[in-house]
Symmetry: C2
DNA sequence: TGTACATCAGTGAACGCGCGTTCACTGATGTAC
DNA sequence: TGTACATCAGTGAACGCGCGTTCACTGATGTAC
């Protein structure tokens, strides 16, 4: 959704002009980069205000606390996901299937390299039971899981083993894809390269979803 | 390692008597449960001291900060892992293989239910680049990854596909197992039960490691 | 085009609180003889 | 068994700092006529 379609408001509900929108944007960008360089634990409203070179009072005009900013950043990250869904549609047989599975894995790798700091906080908060972050993660995951399940059904892989249950398999595949970027840095392990990781994950994904 | 083998000392290096050991233990236990009920972000030295009903000064006798306690807790969690390694050894063909893969998945589910709050913090900190937590995670993962790779080699699954590289496949399997408990609560998704999740993950694990 | 007014946007400065941290001390336990 | 001394363990109280948060205000921008 673009700002035109759903006008962004400040915390008192007032619609924002161009100047305010830019300030809000800047606060979000700065939060993102501070989150990347220090951890969540070291991130305070005062730090953000200092980095933006503004007063803390300005921060509170747009966000209620640090988590609120991260929440908005996570919502933005969600907006990139529709492009991914298309990859699951269409033919996954043969060379086409290899290509698509590879694209999916590569997408996730890039997505996490880009949004890792924000997604990590989202996942931690969701795992700890924060409802707002759980909703956001659910919104991100459900279409992907659905697309995977649909593919399994289409390709007849469902029922190929009595123990494989499509929704669970989709969750398992999500797990692999979500950790792809993280394990890139566990690297040195046996000399795995980022490409190996992507190729192998793609292969496991393709096999699991198409049953071949 | 037992306390006898490697006597635990306070921060000034003094060996601890029974009374001190008990206090230290209590601080760790309280930290663990506070971590489970609130998040890491809401966890302060003052909170811990209050819960233990002691002075903050006592806390500092044993730990340098909150993260230090979590680090010790994560180290303890590592001590439970050798039991897991055995499951990878031996025969993974036929019914035996089904049983072993199921046991591995069930082990991880239980392990994360037990140590989830600590392991989540460990992973976040490691992902954010904290070296101490990275070392701890590596120590936990390496034996498991090695056992998986050995199994793949033994069972001849290596080379079954030119795209599957054993170290990468082992990392992918770790990802599934590490997220098992987390996705239990994404549940409601298509009515997946905890058992489905374990069974399906076990199946994917077995197939990937044995190539059947 | 100019002027007056309304609303938007930003902030300086202040407040109080609670946290992290330490010091100097007391009380508990162990050990030597 | 008793006494003296050494070490271990625990803590009350205090300090200062920096954070979160808000208020009352100023300046910037938009709009009507």
């Amino acid at each position: 959704m673009s700002p035109e379609a759903r006008p962004i408001a400040d915390l008192s509900g007032r619609r924002l002009g161009a100047r305010a929108l830019a300030k809000r944007r800047r606060i979000m960008d700065v939060t993102r980069s501070l989150l990347a360089e220090r951890g969540l634990r070291e991130l305070r409203v005062a730090d953000i205000a200092r980095s933006v070179v503004t007063s803390p009072a300005t921060f509170y005009q747009y966000f209620s606390d640090v988590e609120d900013v991260v929440l908005q950043l996570a919502a933005e990250a969600n907006e990139e996901l529709p492009a991914l869904i298309e990859l699951f549609e269409g033919d996954w047989r043969g060379a086409e299937g290899h290509r698509r599975s590879r694209d999916v894995a590569a997408f996730f790798m890039a997505y996490w390299v880009d949004h890792g700091p924000v997604l990590r906080v989202r996942n931690l908060a969701a795992d700890e039971g924060d409802e707002r972050f759980m909703a956001l993660r659910r919104a991100a995951m459900e279409p992907i899981l659905d697309a995977m399940v649909a593919l399994m059904q289409r390709s007849g892989s469902v029922g190929s083993s009595p123990w494989i249950q499509p929704q669970s398999a989709a969750l398992a595949m999500s797990a692999i894809l979500d950790r792809l970027a993280a394990y890139q840095s566990v690297v040195d392990y046996g000399g795995v390269s980022s490409d190996d990781l992507v190729d192998t994950s793609a292969q496991i994904l393709r096999r699991t979803l198409t049953g071949t």
